[in-house]
């Protein structure tokens, strides 16, 4: 099989990319999804708050997915469900397997990576104790409750204050479970403020900052956890241990871009985002392979995921059509003072730069976000690690840059 553009994954990034590749003139667009339905994680995110910036609407995850699927159905994009990509080569040959077709090979002119991210499991944070049943990542519990109709437990402790953990605190409470508390190792919450208010405060669920779970107890089923306060270096403080009985522990301790396929294709990754090194065009270091959404870096908002999907798809269509000049060598965009994460990491002089930045610590004072040596700056009232900052720098301002661009966040 052959295609102009092949999109791997049909979550918000992949759906948007497939539609937009078609709209950008790609003649044959393929969308590959390993599950039996389109939509990715949106299907289980039944809460609202999706598309506020993109559509100026307050959709739930499933509504947002249906809207994108409706747009997809109007195009001639071919999509294959139950189709798992097992390998991707640097020359953009895709090997996929499905129950219907067995093994198939697709030769694609360009590829859009949209595989999303995965939750960090217990083993990635090394909690001591026994290994009983009743320990789930927040997203797995979300799937059980919202799609399969199972309640994972009745007395719940949540470790980590990421958005999925907060959303699940409310969800489990509404379904009749008692959420005893959300414990966060950092001294600020991981999730968005609106989720702290509407998911915890509304239901009187306590949030314990600078706390973590230091032991899991129970033989067959989890019977409780020991929680401890932590010091500024995040080490547990001796003597602060408290036993909290529970039958369920949810982990909401971070997400990691899923780049097994990217690695196989020789795509260079960066430890800053754990995703591919890309330019403002979303092109990776392998020509013709683009990446977007949470496989690039974990975004806070679906609007940003979709935006990167549009950029990647437009350029993938251009690449497939042969309308892609090598141009000037890209310059590096590097994190400076108080910048923990930035995306993309290179600028290739082809387009305006949409830059995403995350601050290293919370600053609840007016800040400047500065691009040195450009002198371009954005003024903001605050900068917090749990809220990505998005801003656009026009191609015109960047055209004379010759060396690396350093991004910093400083108090005003």
């Amino acid at each position: 099989m052959e295609a102009d553009v092949t999109v791997i994954g049909s979550g918000p990034a992949g759906l948007t990319a497939a539609v937009h590749a078609h709209e950008s003139g790609a003649k044959s667009v393929l969308l590959l999804e390993r599950e039996e339905e389109l939509g990715g994680i949106l299907k289980q995110c039944i809460h609202n708050g999706f598309g506020l910036e993109q559509f100026k609407k307050d959709y739930t995850g499933p509504e947002y997915a249906e809207r994108l699927i409706e747009e997809l159905e109007k195009t001639n994009v071919q999509y294959f469900l139950n189709t798992m990509v097992v390998s991707l080569s640097p020359d953009k040959t895709i090997t996929a397997v499905s129950p219907e077709k067995g093994i198939s090979h697709i030769k694609s002119r360009s590829v859009v990576l949209a595989m999303g991210c995965r939750e960090r499991p217990r083993s990635s944070i090394n909690i001591p104790g026994t290994r009983p049943a009743g320990i789930y990542t927040a997203g797995v519990a979300q799937r059980f409750v919202n799609i399969d109709g199972y309640l994972p437990g009745k007395q719940v402790v949540i470790l980590g204050s990421g958005d999925i953990g907060l959303i699940m605190a409310r969800r489990l409470t509404l379904e009749g479970a008692r959420v005893k508390g959300v414990y966060e190792i950092m001294d600020y919450p991981g999730g968005l403020k609106r989720n702290i208010v509407q998911c915890l405060n509304d239901f009187d669920i306590p949030l314990y900052l600078s706390h973590t779970v230091t032991e899991i107890q129970g033989k067959e089923r989890i019977e409780g956890v020991v929680v401890s306060k932590v010091d500024q270096k995040m080490n547990p403080i001796g003597g602060s241990e408290q036993f909290v009985p529970c039958d369920t522990l949810l982990l909401s301790v971070g997400l990691i871009p899923e780049n097994e396929l990217s690695k196989e294709a020789g795509v260079e990754l960066t430890p800053i985002t754990k995703g591919p090194v890309t330019t403002e065009t979303m092109e990776t270091r392998v020509p013709g392979i683009f990446s977007c959404g949470n496989v690039s870096t974990v975004f806070d908002l679906v609007d940003y995921v979709a935006e990167t999907g549009m950029i990647a798809a437009g350029n993938a269509a251009r690449f497939a059509a042969g309308d892609w000049k090598k141009g000037k060598n890209p310059v590096e965009i590097i994190p400076g003072e108080n910048v923990r994460m930035l995306f993309p990491q290179q600028y290739s002089f082809k387009d305006d730069l949409i830059l995403f930045v995350r601050s290293a610590k919370p600053i609840d004072k007016p800040v400047n976000i500065e691009l040195s040596p450009l002198g371009v700056r954005l003024k903001r009232l605050y900068a917090r690690p749990n809220e990505m900052i998005r801003f656009k720098v026009s191609r015109d301002k960047l055209k004379d840059v010759t060396g690396p661009v350093e991004v910093s966040i400083t108090e005003r």
Binding site: P62, E66, N146, I147, D148, G149, L174, R194
Partner: protein, 139 residues
């Protein structure tokens, strides 16, 4: 006279102003921390009647999945959230269902409707299909 103090985090925009309010006989006598008028409106609404969108699921038969996601089509009083959940407890739907199909009208007297938030197709014998898949795997 007794002064009652209350604290709010505004959720109108991502800034999330921390707003302190003093009340006397239920009337606002001072408000501090809001950076704009919208924050004031938010607090006054919260004091009068906190309103929230409710999203949850209801069981569905004859579909690929066990649960159908639903929402209220407009915000409802926060104090009625659990009442609406209770009212939905006895409902069981039959596939197919179209997105925005009204499942309960004027739920718990709130004037809001509970509607489906996705399409869900009818599937013939979903359990048999699953069994088939398992036996194929083992075979």
């Amino acid at each position: 006279m007794d002064v009652e103090k209350k604290h709010f985090t505004c959720v109108i925009c991502p800034i999330g102003c921390e707003i302190d309010v003093e009340l006397q006989n239920g009337n606002v006598v001072s408000m501090e921390g809001n950076k704009c008028e919208k924050g004031k409106e938010f607090v006054l609404q919260e004091l009068e009647e906190a309103m929230r969108i409710l999203t949850t699921t209801v069981p569905i038969k004859g579909a690929k999945w066990a649960m159908l996601p639903v929402r209220t089509d407009k915000p409802i009083p926060k104090r009625l959230l659990s009442k609406v959940i209770e009212q939905l407890a006895d409902i069981e739907l039959q596939a197919p269902v179209k997105m925005y199909h009204v499942i309960v009208k004027d739920v718990a007297g709130t004037d809001a409707n509970v509607v489906a938030t996705r399409n869900m197709k009818k599937v013939n014998h979903p359990k048999d299909a699953k069994k088939d898949l398992i036996s194929r795997k083992e075979g």
